[in-house]
């Protein structure tokens, strides 16, 4: 398949801050429009992404095992984890809410681990397998990124509302801290991954020389 010319072939570099196509023979190391530093690829992309990804995997364990909140109703206290919250909704017949929480809190982070891991490994192997699909996968990971913050906000609101001392009281528990860290670190991992590396396969591909309009 023929493709349009690449920025590197035309001596151009994309400015990540303002989106300008900078001529590196004129601009040097900084964008001539906004002054942000120019990079052909995000610096140390693979190392940083692995580091953030592994950190978030480590936090994922306490995030799921530790209780995220404590509900005290009429004297009896009860710790609940994220999964037990999902099961509670499910058993009360509220399958739709259970599904929302399950997707946002458990499925989304798990999908991100698998997807980013897959992208990192294929990029390191210089694979040219399913490049277009992997590119789409990266955009999907970026899109679903922050939805896992859902549970943090639910716990915050519920804990702020239910404050009736002996009658009923809900408090956040450390699980929610680790959960928030998982979200922050997976977002950082997705941001530090450079999707252009997906296209750097070891096999050369054909291309056209003219800049086409799409």
């Amino acid at each position: 398949m023929s493709r349009p010319p690449l920025a590197s072939e035309l001596n151009l570099m994309l400015c990540h801050a303002c989106g300008k196509a900078c001529d590196i023979s004129v601009a040097g190391h900084c964008c001539d429009r906004c002054g942000a530093p120019l990079h052909a690829r995000k610096p140390n992309s693979l190392t940083r992404t692995w580091a953030y990804l592994i950190a978030s995997l480590v936090f994922y364990v306490p995030a799921n095992l530790l209780p995220v909140m404590n509900t005290k109703m009429l004297g009896s206290g009860d710790d609940s984890t994220i999964m037990s919250g999902v099961i509670e909704f499910w058993s009360h017949g509220a399958w739709d809410i259970a599904l929302i929480i399950f997707i946002a809190s458990i499925a989304v982070p798990a999908t991100k681990f698998v997807a980013l891991g897959l992208l990192l490994i294929t990029v390191q192997r210089g694979s040219d397998w399913a490049q277009r699909e992997r590119s789409k996968l990266y955009r999907f990971v970026e899109l679903i990124g922050y939805w896992s913050m859902l549970d943090v906000i639910v716990v915050a609101l519920v804990a702020a509302l239910v404050k009736f001392q002996a009658l009923g009281d809900i408090e956040p528990r450390p699980g929610i801290l680790f959960f928030g860290l998982v979200v922050v670190f997976t977002m950082l991992a997705a941001m530090s991954f450079d999707p252009r590396m997906i296209w750097e396969s070891r096999q050369p591909e054909e291309h056209t020389d003219e800049v086409s309009s799409h």
Binding site: P4, L12, G19, K20, G35, V155, P172, G180
Partner: protein, 199 residues
Amino acid sequence: MLDTDQLIICEHCDCVYHKVPLGKHQKALCQRCGAELQRYNGLTLQQRLALSFTAGVLWLLANFYPVMSISLQGFSNSATLWDSVLALATGPITFIALVAAISIIIAPLFQLLLLIWVLCFAVAGQRSPGFSLCMRWLETLRPWSMLEVCLLGAMVAVFKLAGLLDVLPGIGLLALAALSLLMIRVAGRDIRELWDSLP
């Protein structure tokens, strides 16, 4: 030499294209990786500024009115966004309160302040003082502003509590709903076009 102002580089695979004028509802995709290159932007500067002021008012409503209130055996309580951030700040988990505060209160506020500042000058055809800095911060803040998530979270919280006690959604929740939709419209990626329209 190429006129670089008329070129677009695909962020996802580095392909280079010429910019094209787009019609309503049209967007341009990269041939190689399928990423979006350009999208039609239907807002004039004046409209965007007006919507930003509207969003500013909604931010005030969303933050100063309770998101919801509950009652249990004659006792009642209500919580604003700030109250829920404070609820997280107790004990050893204060850090998460900071993350929550940034994502649902601070980031949207700064996005709006920066937008209004930049757009007020843009309407007069000028770059505002500190234009590059403001534009770069708008890019940095965008992924950390999570109002849509906050809206869904508030709705889940309503259902979660509805089984235990009486829940009443407040003015804050309505304002939050409207604000999160407006933010998608006014503070999206397309504000980058200001770079082109203000030489």
